[in-house]
């Protein structure tokens, strides 16, 4: 593909009017992605941004790249076809908690399992935005919504745990309103060879306003989040003076210098599993950052290698060889 001149963020801004509610967390994510794309050294025409249906899934319209606003829940399946057909494309999937985890759950976990080199950004606002506010598979029990007038009864998924169970090779979490962290995580995802899953905590001002405030609000953020960085100790707090460590097969708070080192490459993801499922209201901080990053075979590479090997062995097929294969006889 072509070589790339430096881009500016604005090169990735399309001519379409943005149609999210004023104050929606999606704006910040859009800006972050546009900035990151500008700096990846990838030619603009080589980005393929693919989404399902939902507020979040309108994203491709606002990106001045190739974009495909598919149907509800199916973006990972479409993206799989795109990536296998043309591995040179830089394929990004934009999806919501309903799109990805409700109707699209199966495609998502299968894409994770197969480890295609695709990046999936899940905008988790714990609600169905576009259809006007029904509870989603990440909604906390008790929430009164349009479809749960007496309070939702469903137990939610933990998106990170689902991804670990499905053996996604890169699993991370970031926040709409933390642009620096967001961009770092996106860059790491891009650098990862294989499937990358990024949960982005996103605020829906209309139907689930402030749902993450107890974790992400400026006033509590430093004490309520611990940023997982591979090989680094799990420290947090404004002064990075607090730590988290594994002990007795559990997690506990500790001083910064006693914090366990985070190992994102641990193959079974057991520790990631332990970390991601803490209570959001307990004193142990909520982990963001990179839960997992391991290398394993990338499907589209394997496919094309097998094609190459077979072609090498059998020779390139032609119409001639196609028609005349097998046992034939002549009538004359």
């Amino acid at each position: 593909m072509s070589t790339v001149t430096e881009y500016k963020k604005k090169d990735f801004v399309s001519d379409q009017e943005v149609r999210w509610c004023p104050g929606c967390g999606d704006y910040a994510i859009l800006a972050g992605v546009q900035q990151v794309f500008a700096g990846l050294g990838v030619a603009k025409e080589d980005f393929a941004v693919i989404s399902g249906i939902g507020c979040s899934s309108r994203f491709p319209y606002y990106m001045n790249t190739y974009g495909f606003h598919t149907i509800h829940g199916r973006a990972p399946a479409v993206a799989s076809g795109v990536k296998i057909a043309n591995p040179e494309l830089d394929v990004w999937v934009i999806t919501g908690d309903g799109d990805a985890l409700s109707i699209g759950g199966n495609h998502l976990i299968h894409a994770m399992r197969r480890n295609l080199n695709i990046k999936v950004l899940l905008f988790n606002n714990r609600i169905y935005g576009l259809t006007k506010g029904q509870y989603s598979p990440t909604t906390s029990p008790g929430l009164v919504t349009a479809s749960s007038p007496y309070g939702s009864l469903d137990q939610p998924f933990n998106p990170i745990a689902v991804a670990l169970g499905a053996n996604a090779s890169f699993v991370a979490r970031t926040v709409d309103t933390q642009p620096k962290h967001l961009k770092e995580v996106l860059k790491a995802a891009h650098a990862h060879k294989g499937f990358a899953f990024i949960e982005i905590l996103q605020n829906c001002v209309i139907f689930n306003d402030k749902v993450f405030d107890h974790i992400v609000d400026r006033s509590v953020r430093d004490d309520r989040q611990v940023d997982l960085r591979d090989g680094a100790p799990m420290v947090f707090g404004k002064e990075l003076d607090k730590g988290v460590r594994f002990a007795d097969n559990g997690i506990e708070l500790c001083a910064a210098d006693e914090a366990s080192n985070w190992d994102a490459a641990e193959a079974t993801s057991a520790d990631a599993m332990r970390l991601c499922q803490g209570s959001e209201t307990a004193e142990i901080p909520v982990p963001i950052g990179i839960f997992k990053a391991i290398e394993r075979p990338v499907l589209e590479e394997e496919i094309h290698a097998q094609i190459a090997a077979t072609t090498e062995k059998l020779g390139e097929g032609t119409l001639e060889s196609l028609l005349n294969a097998g046992e034939t006889w002549d009538i004359d």
């Binding site: 990536k83 057909a85 034939t328």
Partner: protein
Amino acid sequence: MTPTQEIPLQQVDDVVIRFAGDSGDGMQLTGNQFTNTSALMGNDIATFPDYPAEIRAPVGTVFGVSGFQVRFSSNDIHTPGDQPDVLVAMNPAALKVNLADLKEGGTLIVNTGNFGDRDLAKAHYDSNPLDNAEELADKYNYIAIDLNQATLDAVADCGLTNKQALRSKNLLALGMLYYAYSRPFDTTEKWLATKFSKKPEILDANLKALHAGAVIAENSEFFAIKYKVGSAPLAEGTYRNMGGNAALAMGLVAGTQLANLNLFYGSYPITPASDVLHALARYKNYGVTTFQAEDEIAAVCSAIGASWAGSLGVTGTSGPGLALKGEALGLSVMIEQPLIVVNVQRAGPSTGMPTKTEQSDLNQALYGRSGESPLPIVSCSSPGDCFEAAIEAVRIAVTYMTPVILLSDGYIGNGAEPFLIPDISSLPEIKNAFAEEGDTRKPFDRDPKTLARPWIKPGTPGLEHRVGGLEKAEGTGNVSYDAENHERMVLMREAKVAGIADSYKPLEVFGEESGDLVVLGWGSTYGAIRSAVERCHNKGMKVSQVHLRNIWPLPSDLKDVLSKFDKVVLPELNRGQLNRLIRAEYLIDTISLPKIQGKPYGGAELFAHFQKILNA
């Protein structure tokens, strides 16, 4: 060791043999060997494999019977035949299921070695049907032989266990028939040699059983006459034996080669379409990628993605799987990109009878999507014809930037016939119209003739744009909720599909251009209709045949063609789905001939219908 000829040799035109036994008895394999051998002798052939839903149903049960019918002829034939001339029944269940079909006076070969009390009980026989040997002998050339024992004897010195040895009994039966119908052994010998190259003792046993069959047939004088079937007056050229699903796969590959495209086949296994996936998975050196998706929705969506990325996306399935693809097909209609959906139909509704054939998904193909979402439908008429039909589907999809549904069914998908290898120069030209850097057309600008939009693939510098399932503005393709634009776009998509009819070849009428009756058919009824109409011609009846390659849009000359006949009759393996379409389009009082028994029409059956209609 070729048996010497002592008994009379008689020339016959046309023979139908049915092999029937347990799923484990190797009947499909036996039938295939007979087929290939006959094809290589220059006979015209047609086959009808009919196997149970169970992988290997418990031995001896009625539902576990596997059948393979092969017809070989010195004429040009169109169906695997109505009633078999020879029935090979390997056990009581096989006899029970198949005997009623055997022609009076036909040859009945029964393996008496499997008629013990337990075998009879498994087939729910109260008494041994072979006890009435006289009755059987009156009605048929009845050959009762313990194939088990004969096989054990034949392979006694191969060092096999009894169980292993008995596996060769199908070859012994095959040998008998090779003798009776003067077939050479070499094709089967070669095939066995390859298949068992690593198991010499098994190879040896199989060869011994094959030859023993011939010897037994000769010595026993089971056959009062030996038959010869001359080669058929097929067109000159090189032939291969071709199954329908294999031909379809080959056609798809040929189509993409012609269009200079890579083929991406996203599919989820389902009977009877899985063999298309299996066949394509072997074409890796033809630019073919196969992707076994997690379900039918992912399969079609991956194909849509692949087309967007610049390959030809194809997906294949059978009825219930097509239902699952409906929503994505709507998307494909909306974004106007090439896509082929193969539907190898089976008997429905729901899971229905997965291993039985039917043509009952035409309605679903026409209408199984939300909103106004017209798309072209192409259909296959015979196993070999699947090749050409698939190329036609590629031509339409690529030329018109549209999804296409390609209808086949279990009967032709699993059937086989000799296939005249076409001249490459006779295959259609197909032009993929990718937009290149610098192209100034907007994404939804249209070719004035085809109304197709340009195919702009990601990776092309400067042409970045967005597509999706929301209604789009003419030209730009941007999202639009405008009322008039919506109506224009709906009409545009409709007109584009309607315009495909302009690219059809004129309809062919088999028989006179006018007359008392025209038989309008589509799909796998082709052969049976052709046989029946030929019979009508032989009797001087004014009956003609029109068979549709393209079901939607209907050919523009169809109304005219039909109007020249007094009556229009439509035989279909459904409850009259094409019939309803024709009535709505042309307001003609057609006669529907629905059959919905999970099995094909026979030529004789149709002939009787036509006769009755003409006499009415």
